[in-house]
Symmetry: C2
Subunit: 375 residues, 2 copies
């Protein structure tokens, strides 16, 4: 009854998460000279596997791992390879990374639990501004389809090189929302995840461009903000939404923080909640030379920054949220922006975490932010 | 503005599909002794890459490739590795395989084109029979959400070791439906893709079991057929469906063909269209010893086969469709079943293709079958 597949099953278990939360990695390579595991759970980033019988290499963490979602890969005689016995990978831009979850504390909400689950849909909307159809992912909370009520909407934006899959795959957004909503810690909400690279219509493999290779740089030439009204009107006409600022939040990481910054400034009275996660935000309005597409379509978007900030905060947003890691390469510009807001007397919440410009932090920010909105 | 990701971008393009449909594969491995590419487009299954400057290995197909969706991986000094420059992979059971598409003819409908796109949702339903929530994937055709009409439903079932993601990922079901519907070659229809392994609730990583490792054997102990009424009633109550046999089809590959066989026999007058793709079907009712779970829950499901076949064909199903490859390991039992149907005077359509028990054939069968149903 076996599939006549190209590849056969193996009984190798890797990673094996033991009951004490130590983890064993295994890799079968009879001819290899050196096998390492590289992962974000290792102090020195890599560790050596030891060859046992029949070319089976193995490494067990000396200590239990703290609760977290970890990424790793192997390095075999100098070459990076994914773990062939762990088919479950996350894609970050163009890189596939193996992952595993140690639940219990921090990462408990990243795991799938036996709670009511929302629905995750991938669908297409038309942008009049861009003149094309584009793909988005939408999370609707458990009970939405069967019910009749109206729901608030979080617009959740990814970073450069990412796409409409990023928050779902690497960000574990649907698991975080399912678990927090089930625990009564977050209000049931719709989450809309757009594609922030307007040069593309959809994630690689899901667009007419085929399997294009995404890069972490080079796709900032967007007109994303200028076309955001098309997103808003599509969502408000296709879902049962609360159609007021009290029912709308916009948040994003890195480039998505840049987008959230400009969208919140340019759509006054539209969002009562704004989240800037490790935002690529310049005090004078974003990185120079990166705004070509947007500026061509709507140059007024990036003008009169200070008066737009004043206008936004005159409306008393219920939450203006800034979060960043203490070693993030964008730390200084976020600090300068906070000082500017302080000088202007604008109130915001601030969360500073350990570490840099990494998904581990963005999951923390999402989990924190969604508990504070629509209250 | 780069992400502080664990891994850096590279400019290596692999695979590179040239305008004449020859394809170049590249792999950077300065220390490797031998690099091969293994793929289903190669006559001998593997071919050697040649090392050029700076450890860049390369292979170009000597001939243009015919239009098809191809899978491949590299073999580096005897180890199987995926192409690190092609992040787009299909998972078949527990194996990740790189893929690329040569469009133009056969595989044209597997590519994303600039046509109206349906919506693909992952959602959860409750099974009273199994006493748990389970995950399914549902394709709704373009226009469904904005419209009010009722749509026919194809229940599309995967093989052993597969899950509710299989037909979407490796089967390219949403692309096939989008393209055929846009061309007027298939009727707009809803496609429901369930998880046929009732021991699990969802695909690996999407269930409370976490990253369990699926195997191609060993998960046939199901009660899938017995709980199918829960699927039918959920779909009919949550979607605008045509609630009659004329609006229902059931089809599946391998184990999903086994399921489709028994479901169609045990839900008389429910489906006017039945598709058995490389079906794991025994003349006497499926592989011995594999029906434990189903038999425990509903032993009557697997009794009185001949009278159930007679009953089904007395209802004159509009299409009873059998398809298989000429080297499929299930060819003999399908031949025996056809001979039995012939002897009983039961009419069916039959498609025989080249090759074995492989996704390449199942995509062909799906594309053929959906053009013949709901007419």
């Amino acid at each position: 009854m076996a599939q006549q597949s190209l590849f056969m099953d193996t009984d190798i278990v890797s990673p094996e998460i033991h009951s004490d939360n130590t983890v064993t990695f295994r890799y079968h390579a009879p001819k290899a000279i050196q096998v390492k595991v590289a992962g974000d759970f290792l102090q020195d980033y890599t560790a050596d596997l030891v060859e046992g019988a029949n070319g089976m290499w193995e490494y067990t963490t000396p200590q239990p791992l703290e609760s977290e979602l970890y990424n790793y890969h192997f390095i075999v005689d100098g070459l990076r390879v994914n773990d062939p016995n762990n088919a479950y990978v996350q894609r970050d831009i163009a890189n596939l990374m193996n992952f595993f979850i140690i639940p219990g504390q921090r990462a408990d909400n990243y795991a799938v639990k036996d709670v009511p689950h929302g629905t995750v849909s991938r669908l297409w909307y038309h942008s009049d501004v861009l003149g094309k159809d584009r793909r988005m992912a939408v999370y609707t909370p458990a009970g939405y389809e069967a019910g009749k009520g109206k729901y608030p909407v979080l617009y959740l934006l990814h970073g450069m090189g990412g796409d409409e899959e990023a928050w779902l795959c690497t960000g574990r957004a649907s698991q975080i929302l399912d678990n927090l909503i089930a625990a009564g810690k977050a209000k049931p909400m719709i989450v809309v995840m757009t594609n922030g690279n307007t040069l593309h219509t959809a994630a690689p493999g899901e667009s007419g461009e085929g399997m294009y290779k995404p890069y972490s740089c080079g796709s900032f030439d967007t007109s994303f903000e200028a076309h955001f009204k098309d997103v808003l009107s599509f969502v408000d006409s296709h879902y049962r939404t609360v159609k007021s600022a009290a029912g709308r939040a916009v948040a994003g990481l890195s480039m998505g923080g840049f987008h959230s910054y400009w969208i919140s400034l340019n759509y006054p009275k539209t969002f009562d909640y704004v989240g800037l996660f490790s935002a690529a935000i310049g005090v004078e309005g974003g990185p120079d030379g990166r705004r070509g597409g947007a500026e061509r379509l709507a140059p007024e978007f990036y003008q009169n920054v200070d008066s737009k900030i004043e206008r936004l905060f005159r409306n008393n947003p219920k939450l203006y949220y800034i979060a960043i890691g203490n070693t993030d390469f964008l730390y200084a510009q976020n600090k300068a922006y906070r000082e500017k807001l302080d000088a202007m007397g604008c109130r915001y919440e601030y969360l500073e975490t350990e570490g840099g410009h990494i998904w581990r932090n963005w999951r923390i920010y999402l989990e924190d932010f969604v508990q504070k909105i629509f209250r």
